[in-house]
């Protein structure tokens, strides 16, 4: 679906590389978390996924077609982006207008357009809000309107660039649930960019960037198993990882690295029953 082949990026010709010779691929229907501390290059990578930035060296492929300045428009329809602060992107005075914006630009037939908007709003559980002003919605609702605007374009991939960071804990949980539904019901590929490892547990695969290079690639479980090494690159191990670390120091080990505290407690329970 998305493929980076030896991609490097620098903002100016005389500045140093922010992204240094990376390879990565995202498959259809896959959820990949892209992780790294501030300044690790993760947002730069995100922007190269839909041509907001073009690589200084190497190539980016979307559906096996190389991304160039000539085919940007078509590619952007396939790769939608949701950013940290949806407010900066609202253009319509009502939710309906806002979600319609992208479709209007494409000149979609109004009747069909309405149908697509309805579907998109339904998918993010925001149907019934058509006449609301986007600015007056809660943070989580605004974020879902932004997603509906992207969904209406029928993308194949949605890149969430720290889309949950500004939300309160409940809004965050809801949004992650919405992302999961989109992946499962619509078969969308999801790229979530975050520095929150708890969020990474939702992904099928995790890529960790550090100083513009891929530091780790694998399943969330394998990443959590790195424990304290994570702190060295400015990431905070999740609660469960720290807890498991404590248990290991008391010689209690589990068959696999736990993804959340429920897994950990459940396994201890099974262990206990077996004895």
């Amino acid at each position: 679906m998305i493929k980076f082949d030896r991609v490097s990026f620098r903002y100016r010709d005389d500045s140093s590389k922010v992204i240094n010779d990376i390879n990565l691929s995202i498959d259809r229907g896959e959820w990949v978390a892209l992780i790294g501390h501030n300044g690790s290059g993760k947002s730069t990578v995100a922007k190269m996924m839909n041509g907001l930035l073009l690589p200084s060296e190497g190539q980016v492929f979307i559906d096996d077609i190389e991304l160039t300045e000539q085919n940007l428009i078509e590619v952007r329809q396939k790769v939608g982006m949701v950013f940290q602060n949806p407010e900066n992107q609202f253009v319509g005075t009502t939710v309906l207008d806002d979600v319609a914006f992208g479709l209007e630009n494409l000149g979609v037939d109004p009747e069909y357009m309405y149908e697509r908007i309805q579907q998109s709003l339904k998918q993010v559980s925001m149907d019934g809000y058509e006449q609301h002003e986007p600015h007056r919605l809660s943070g989580g609702q605004k974020q879902r309107i932004a997603i509906a605007g992207v969904l209406a374009m029928l993308p194949e991939v949605i890149v969430f660039d720290e889309a949950t960071t500004m939300l309160d804990p409940m809004g965050r949980k809801d949004l992650l649930q919405t992302m999961k539904t989109l992946k499962e019901e619509r078969g969308l590929s999801i790229v979530s960019i975050t520095h929150d490892l708890t969020e990474a547990a939702f992904a099928d695969r995790v890529l960790v960037l550090n100083q513009g290079e891929v530091w780790f690639e694998g399943e969330p479980r394998q990443l959590f198993a790195k424990g304290e090494e994570l702190e060295n690159i400015g990431l905070e191990p999740p609660f469960v990882t720290k807890l498991y670390h404590q248990l290991k120091s008391e010689n209690i080990t589990l068959e696999r690295e736990p993804l959340d505290f429920k897994e950990l407690v459940d396994e201890l329970w099974t262990l206990h029953l077996k004895k």
Partner: protein, 288 residues
């Protein structure tokens, strides 16, 4: 400085068709020298509350007392004096930087309030040290710095005034975990070394648990609960009803109690305690 809210009402666009009541009959007390966290769902009135603390807005009904200062609906001329004592770090404070150099930016507040500038200049190295910035940034433009550094400059511009009350409105929003924990340690250090009163507005229950001695939970412009963090976080259902979560360590403790049938007492509601409970559980199983 003690802070007391007494039956405070605040209404935006008062006396217009658009009026919207943000605070309802709000009463609480923040003891001098305490570290108080204010938590609440988006739109619960947190920001309206803290704008009263340095007189940016005044109660429509009721009274706010901060040390010797009193704010009510009547006209008030001591607001500037009050602001010398109450420093507020707003959300994304780095957006307020404007001067040519870091030094000028930090000294803007002292200059405005008529402090002895020579003395303040001598203290700059100390202030920078406090916020974790090297002295050589002083002559640089604040706009050349990274986001995290810019935020530190903005905070330096507030603490250079040596306020008795430091109000922080989600100071860690948008920072990565490392930046966040550094920033919180900084506030905890300032709180202890300066014996100031600290008011922290946050979404992160973990932070409230780790640093605050008192938590005020806001909901729909009212105080929903007030008390010690450990006590409050026991009330899981009530917090959940108003859109708040409890810290993960408490959730985990609840889960252990239900699943394993062992009890986790209050003192064990931390990483070490929980780990001990689990170790005991496994060892007990091995014996039986």
């Amino acid at each position: 400085m003690d802070i007391t809210f007494k039956e405070v009402d605040y209404i935006y666009q008062y006396n217009t068709p658009f009026e919207h009541q943000a605070l309802h009959n709000l009463s609480f007390h923040i003891p001098s020298g305490s570290f108080t966290a204010i938590i609440g769902h988006t739109g619960s009135g947190k920001s309206t509350l803290i704008q009263h603390l340095n007189g940016l807005i005044k109660p429509i009904q009721g009274e706010v007392t901060i040390g010797e200062f009193t704010l009510s609906s009547e006209k008030n001329h001591q607001v500037k004096d009050l602001r010398k004592h109450v420093g507020v770090v707003f959300q994304y404070p780095e957006h307020q930087l404007f001067e040519e150099t870091v030094k000028k930016d930090i000294l803007f507040g002292p200059k405005n309030f008529g402090f002895d500038l020579d003395r303040k200049e001598d203290e700059l190295a100390d202030v920078l040290n406090n916020v974790g910035l090297p002295v050589d940034v002083l002559d640089r433009s604040p706009f050349e710095l990274s986001g995290g550094q810019m935020r530190r400059v903005a905070i330096a511009g507030v603490i250079v005034l040596e306020p008795s009350v430091l109000v922080l409105d989600e100071p860690t929003a948008g920072l990565d975990p490392l930046g966040r924990s550094q920033m919180l340690k900084l506030f905890s250090h300032l709180h202890q070394s300066r014996q100031q009163t600290t008011v922290l507005v946050t979404h992160h229950m973990e932070d409230a648990l780790a640093y605050a001695d008192q938590v005020i939970v806001m909901n729909q412009g009212k105080v929903e609960m007030i008390g010690e963090p450990k006590e409050l976080f026991k009330k899981k259902e009530r917090l959940r009803d108003i859109g708040l979560d409890i810290p993960e360590v408490f959730e985990c403790a609840n889960y252990i109690e239900n699943k394993l049938g062992v009890s986790v007492n209050e003192c064990q509601s931390n990483m070490e305690g929980i780990s001990q409970v689990l170790v005991d559980f496994v060892k007990a199983g091995a014996r039986s």
